[in-house]
Amino acid sequence: MTERFPVAALSILIMLLFTACSTPPKSRFVVLPSPDGHIGMVQVSTEAGQVTLNKANASTTIERAKAPPPEPVVMADADVALIFKDALEALPPGPVTFILNFEFATVKLTGESEKTLSKVLEYIKETGSTDITVIGHADKVGTKAVNARISSERAHAVAAILKDKGVAPSSIRTDYYGDTFPLVDTPRGVREPLNRRVEVTVR
C-alpha cells in the first residue's frame, strides 16, 4: 500500500495536468440519405440517454457523456458539406455489377452486351479496380453438366476479352454456376435469354 501511494498520487497529478489543457471533445452525428435515397436509422446514446436520427440530415451534437443527447436538428446541406466535404468526396463507390447476355448455346455476346462490355472496361479504367469477379450462368436447356460447361466457357470468354483489353489477369477471378442461379426461374428445357449471362462485379 505504502509503495503504491506515491504512484497513485503521481498518476492523479498527471491526469489533472492533462485535464487542465484539454477541452471536452464534441461529437456530432448526422444521418444522410443513401445513394438510392433511402434513409435508415441511427441511435445515438450517451451514459444518460438516447436519441434516434431517422430523417435526412438529422443531427445531434454531444459535448458531455453524462448528459442525454440533445434532440435532433436538421442540418442544411451547406453545413453538412462545410464539415464533411473531404470525407464525403473520399467515400468510394460500392461494388457495381454489369450483366452480359449471350446468344443461345454459344459464348457469343448479344449486340447489346457488346456495348455493355465497353462500359465495363471504361468503368474498370475509371476506378482502377483490381478486384473483378466474372461469373458465368446458363439457362435451363440441356443437362446440368452441359450448362456448367457452357457457363464456365462464358466466364472465361469474358475474362479473356478483359485481359485482352489490358485488365491485369491478377485482378480477375472467374467462377461459374451452370443453371443453378437463374435470374428468371423457368422449368427445365425452357430457353431464357436473361439467364444466359455473365455477371461482372467490379469492386
Partner: protein, 163 residues
C-alpha cells in the same frame, strides 16, 4: 458551462479514458489476431497512415485493411475504404479511427463492425453486416455511441484526444 461541474466531468472522463487506453493496449494487443483482409483502400489523398500494432505504414491504393488497424489522416488528406460486406467508409483530413471490431461470416452468421472515432470526420455507408444484424454496426466517440441501422452516417469529433 458551469466551471466546477465541467471540471469534475473532465477528470472522470480522463480517468475513464486512461482505463480504456490501458484495456485497449493490453487486451487490444491480444485481440489483434485477425490477419484476414476485411477491407481495401480505394481512395487516397495526401498523407495517410495505417497503424498496425505499433507500426504506422503509409497507405496506398489496393492495400488491405485488417481488424484492429488504426486509420490516420493528415492535413489536406483523406482515405476511402471498401469493406468485404460492401459497406464503405471514409475519413476526412486530420482524422483518426480505430477499427476495433469487424466480423463478416455469412455461413457462421457472424456480423459486426465497431469503429472508434478519436478525432476528425468519418462517413460510413452501411452494407451487408447491417442487413444481417441490425445491432451489429457501432461507432464510438469519446462521448457517445451510435448504432447504425442501414444508412449513411457522418460523424465528427472536435477536440478529441490524439491517442
Amino acid at each position: 458551462m458551469v466551471a466546477g461541474e465541467g471540471k469534475g466531468n473532465s477528470i472522470m472522463r480522463t480517468l475513464l479514458l486512461a482505463v480504456m487506453w490501458l484495456l485497449f493496449v493490453t487486451v487490444g494487443g491480444v485481440a489483434a489476431s485477425g490477419t484476414d483482409e476485411v477491407g481495401t483502400v480505394k481512395a487516397l489523398k495526401g498523407n495517410v497512415l495505417i497503424q498496425r500494432g505499433n507500426t504506422p505504414v503509409p497507405a496506398r491504393i489496393g492495400m488491405g485493411v485488417l481488424r484492429n488497424d488504426t486509420l490516420i489522416t493528415g492535413a489536406n488528406s483523406s482515405l476511402g475504404l471498401l469493406f468485404s460486406d460492401n459497406s464503405t467508409l471514409s475519413l476526412g483530413a486530420n482524422s483518426k479511427m480505430h477499427l476495433s471490431e469487424y466480423e463478416f461470416d455469412v455461413a457462421d452468421k457472424k456480423a459486426s463492425l465497431v469503429g472508434r472515432v478519436r478525432h476528425g470526420t468519418v462517413v460510413y455507408l452501411s452494407g451487408l453486416i447491417a442487413k444481417m444484424n441490425s445491432d451489429a454496426v457501432k461507432f464510438k466517440t469519446p462521448t457517445a455511441i451510435a448504432g447504425v441501422k442501414g444508412t449513411k452516417l457522418a460523424i465528427s469529433v472536435e477536440g478529441g484526444d490524439d491517442d
